[in-house]
Amino acid sequence: MTVSLTPEGEQHRPSLQPTGWLRYFSFSVDHKVIGLQYLVCGFLFYLIGGALAGAIRTELVSPMSDFMPRDVYNQVLTLHGTVMIFLWIVPVVNGAFGNYLIPFYVGARDMAFPRLNAVAFWLIPPAGLLLISSYFITGAAQSGWTAYPPLSTTTAASGQVIWILSVLLLGGSSIFGGINFIATVLKLRRPGLKLMQLPMYCWAMLGTSILVVLSTPVLAGTLILLSFDIVAHTGFFNPGLGGNVVVYQHLFWFYSHPAVYIMVLPAFGLVSEILPVHCRKPLFGYATMVYSIMAIVVLGLVVWAHHMFTSGTPPWMRLFFTIATAFIAVPTGIKFFNWLATLWGGRIALNSAVLFSCGFIINFVLGGITGVALAQVPFDVHVHDTYFVVAHFHYIVYGGTVFVIFASIYHWYPKVTGRMLNETLGRLHFLLTFIGFNLCFAPQHWLGLNGMPRRVAEYDPQFAFINQLSSAGALLMAISTLPFLWNVVASAFRGEIAGDNPWNALTPEWLTSSPPPVENWEGEAPLVHEPYGYGVPIDQIDLAAASGSDLWSSGK
């Protein structure tokens, strides 16, 4: 290959790469384009998943199954779970923000493997369309997002096989992304930038990607075995043919428990970026945050059977997994108190990004408390497969992660578009979402404690009022999307010009133009040792003077 000097002043761009709006529909290898592709694609699937949730809540307004046939209800709830987890939360909180931010944070011009990155994204739209289209072609899978046999082997095979195919593609995408993030964080750091000087989101993505690489392949293998059971009538998970159903559950949860951390660890990282900027304080306890993330990664791999306490699990296993799960509360609690300490005494700008972050802290601690409760066998046996579990799960992934996704959009929108979002609409969005979310899911704790099973279209009439309350909350959540959608679309054209660094932030993505140029910086990448060096006027901070850990450990 010949190498030559680019002529003076000429902007070098990879050829065959469109540069206008068309690039968002192309096989672009620019990490920022790919990040936005993930974000917009994920949001479209969020709207679909939300519509499916709306259908579920409409059905549950009355105790009888009168809005849709029962098998359609099964399909709708399966699609809702699969779309929201595999097509909205995992791609957006990992792929979208990870691709956009990680190269900035490590001081690189792109991800380690740009083409693999584009491949990883472009696996998602076909997989998603395949999944959705199964509803119209043959009827979608009916066995929930867990696809437990014998449910998954006795319901209509075609929908289940398409579901497996789609999840395999999405798993592949996730693994490719994970490999890319690990290589980028560990290998592509700008010379002179130490690991313990990285912004927290890098650590969160490193931990998440380790979980992705270690656990997603197990799900892939499991689903291949399940597809053999369905297509070739083998008996891996069929006791009638000498197989074992519980083995499926073990293998499935070996991925799907870490999957919860794959969905929530990046959110931890994003919140750790947002809070210091708007509180004008260093992130409290940087080192403990890092060790907590790594502790969660290790513990997250050895707690899966707490999902299976009613599956004939032997007592020693129950004991081990209860204790291991309870231990996870320690690193999680450390992170929770670190965020509170970051807020404590800060000059908090109570804007939409901070409101959503605080909403996250409140919701997440509630979800965490019910999580510790669910890890206790005597309690879990009582509420297993009831709406209590549904409430707990949604407090983690919606109250936790989705709130953080919105906070992140409010925080980084000025960087991505160069324009500010409307604050009034943002606060309205927060208010509607926060009230709607809690109205929708808080009552479900009560429903579960009183014995209403999940995933069933009909229920005891005594639960009708609480279900209607919950459905009203869901309606409010649906309405809350409108000011948000209007805000992001209108602000892209008419929003106030943001400038390069509207929040006076110190992390590297703000030290370039908004939107950033191709390859991120004109000239050399900045070397930021103190991504959280707030508390002194910005022009007095010498970015190269002290190492970040000095500041973090002294707690200034």
Binding site: T2, I179, P217, H233
Partner: protein, 199 residues
């Protein structure tokens, strides 16, 4: 700042030049960790079945040892021949490297043939019982890896046909990546042989 930028127009070369160093082997190794976890899942399932699901009374599940031992030898030798190929490429001896590569591919294909012979002489089929299914799933998934590996070896063999070709002593990545993969597949076979045939 003055930077060296490639003037060639194809996307492929410009895309990888964003990186200052070549991290592709790191990526391949990480991918193999993921691949190993797939096998780990299968092995865990098999061992659990082995521990808690007794063979049904009328089921036939017997394995002979000679062919699998031959297969183990074939793969272990092929790992060594691949290593020789890599050594020769680094010395710039493309033609010798190609001979070793071809020998490796032939050994890989011999493994596959021997595996097929075993499949057709076994007294049980895929759906006969749980252990039959597990046996075919595990060896089949591994055989798929060997097939892909043999194909990739032949591609590399083609790519280093001239000293000015794509795979040379300056650009060893394709050969090194396939070599790492091939050693990995051999390692998996050794574990599989221990678990499936000896336990």
């Amino acid at each position: 700042m003055t930077t060296l930028k490639p003037s060639s127009t194809d996307v492929a070369s410009t895309a990888t030049d964003h990186a200052h160093q070549d991290h592709r082997m790191f990526g391949v190794a990480t991918f193999l960790v993921a691949d190993a976890m797939t096998f780990a899942g299968f092995f865990a399932a098999y061992l659990t079945f082995h521990a808690v699901n007794p063979l049904q009374p009328d089921a036939i599940y017997e394995l002979e040892l000679p062919l699998p031992i031959l297969n183990t030898v074939l793969l272990l030798v092929s790992s060594a021949t691949f290593h020789k190929a890599g050594q020769n490429l680094r010395k710039g001896a493309n033609q010798v490297c190609r001979q070793w590569l071809m020998l490796t591919a032939v050994l890989g294909l011999a493994f596959l043939v021997s595996q097929m012979v075993e499949y057709f002489t076994l007294p049980f089929g895929l759906t006969d019982n749980l252990f039959a299914s597990t046996f075919y799933a595990l060896t089949g998934f591994h055989g798929l890896h060997v097939t892909l590996g043999a194909l990739m070896i032949l591609i590399v063999w083609w790519q280093c046909r001239t000293p000015a070709g794509r795979v040379t002593s300056e650009n060893q990545f394709p050969l090194e990546a396939v070599e790492l993969y091939w050693h990995f597949v051999d390692g998996i076979w050794v574990v599989l042989f221990l678990i499936l045939y000896l336990i």
